[in-house]
Symmetry: C2
Subunit: 260 residues, 2 copies
């Protein structure tokens, strides 16, 4: 195994890894950083191409254990960093001492049940929705260009590792992509406050795309126009709406309810 | 209507209202602050005892409109504050210019469907769960003493006004309170990762308490012991768990599904 110690904050590798906190850095290096013991373990196990494993000096053993558990055909290079250097690379204030640098190459989309996120901008919501999609048994998510960046540190944290398990697709035009899926026999369900009652929906087949809209303005006009169904969850008390991630969770679990 | 202008940051009223951001201040004054146009409007309409309406000088008209719309039998005193004084009182960084000071006197609990929050500590989760309970048609929530304070600014914001519509109860002992409800014929459903399949539950009647546990450690031992049902949602992908607010939302909507 190749192992190297880096102690200078000005080392070009350190500068490159630090830049992965920002969209520009991720784009330039075509890479992202999975921070934390659990995220790094999930990354190693997931089959995502791992460019490097970064370990704080006091976490060498944790890192070696994670590497051994992942049982990779080819070991990624390991870098040992003193505390101040490791902290500079990480986004979290009190990092756990293990992080992985990964190719920015999401799992491709395949399956029967997809989410479509139409302008979801809160990183916590986007991450939580991907985590919930994974748990519900949805196969992946299609994101419009104005969604929060799924490879940003905040979204990654909220996914709790599900980023490595759900398929992802980033079309230039969400309505065009949904049109294409419709032609392949998918029902396109738009979640909107002025829709028909969700629990009384009819004619939704096995192949489903569930569209969740922007936190403030909901599903956009062009996407509503493509939908085969426009549906709303009941609002029984005085609440006017649900949080987008909550609504997504309720509907995904309802759509997979028959799976038991 | 009684209206007064306060321009000094050292005015005793200003100092008192500022202190409502912290638990100690809310306890001392038995009051809390509903910030923002919509929260203040909901507060005025809710029937909660309003001690004062605070308006930034440029928002006099908004405040008067809200007061007129609420059509109160007795007008609360109105205080006009210059921008720097209003901002000092508020917790939000860019306040909307309208706020209401209210008696710390939650809506009492009554009905058939309650949540119990057992050590929920994230303010955003607690607020979102109360908002979702309102939308789902749950009647209220029972909170253990170690939950996030529902009258803190962060929780209030996340409730989006539902704080004024759901009943609330704060027993010294959550297990004892649940025991009492069980004797009244309530099913006590504990949501836990090692429970029985939620969708196959049997013998849950009309009277239900759904228990949601701490974000990290789940439902506590004494509360699990009281439960009539221990249930888990299916985890179909690789995700190990759901966010507490998401799980609460899915289960509340499932439990009220027959309401249509």
């Amino acid at each position: 195994m190749k192992m190297e110690r880096i102690t200078s904050l000005k080392n070009p590798r350190i500068l490159a890894w630090k830049s992965l906190k920002e969209p520009r850095g991720r784009k330039a290096h075509r890479a992202f950083l999975a921070e934390g013991k659990r995220m790094a373990e999930e990354a190693l196990r997931s089959g995502f191409p791992v460019r490097a494993l970064l370990l704080r000096e006091d976490c060498l053993k944790d890192g070696m254990d994670a590497l051994a558990a992942a049982n990779l055909p080819e070991q990624p290079p390991v870098f040992l960093l003193p505390e101040h250097v490791f902290s500079a690379v990480c986004d979290t204030k009190t990092p756990q001492g293990v992080a992985a640098v990964l190719d920015l190459q999401p799992k491709p989309l395949s399956g029967n049940r997809f989410l479509a996120l139409d302008g979801l901008q809160d990183p916590g919501n986007v991450g939580t929705i991907l985590r919930t999609a994974d748990a519900a048994g949805f196969d992946g998510a299609i994101l419009s260009p104005d969604c929060a960046d799924v490879f940003s540190p905040k979204v990654l944290r909220a996914t709790m590792g599900s980023i490595f398990r759900v398929g992802l697709s980033f079309p230039e035009s969400l309505p065009e992509r949904l049109e294409a899926l419709k032609r392949e026999g998918f029902s396109v369900l738009s979640s909107q406050l002025d829709g028909e009652p969700f629990y009384a929906r009819q004619g939704v087949g096995e192949k489903v795309v569930l569209v969740i809209g922007n936190e403030g303005s909901g599903v956009s006009g062009p996407v509503r126009a493509v939908a085969t169904h426009r549906l709303r969850l009941p609002m029984r008390g005085g609440a006017e709406s649900l949080n987008a991630a909550i609504a997504a969770g309720i509907m995904m679990y309802e759509l997979t309810r028959e799976d038991g």
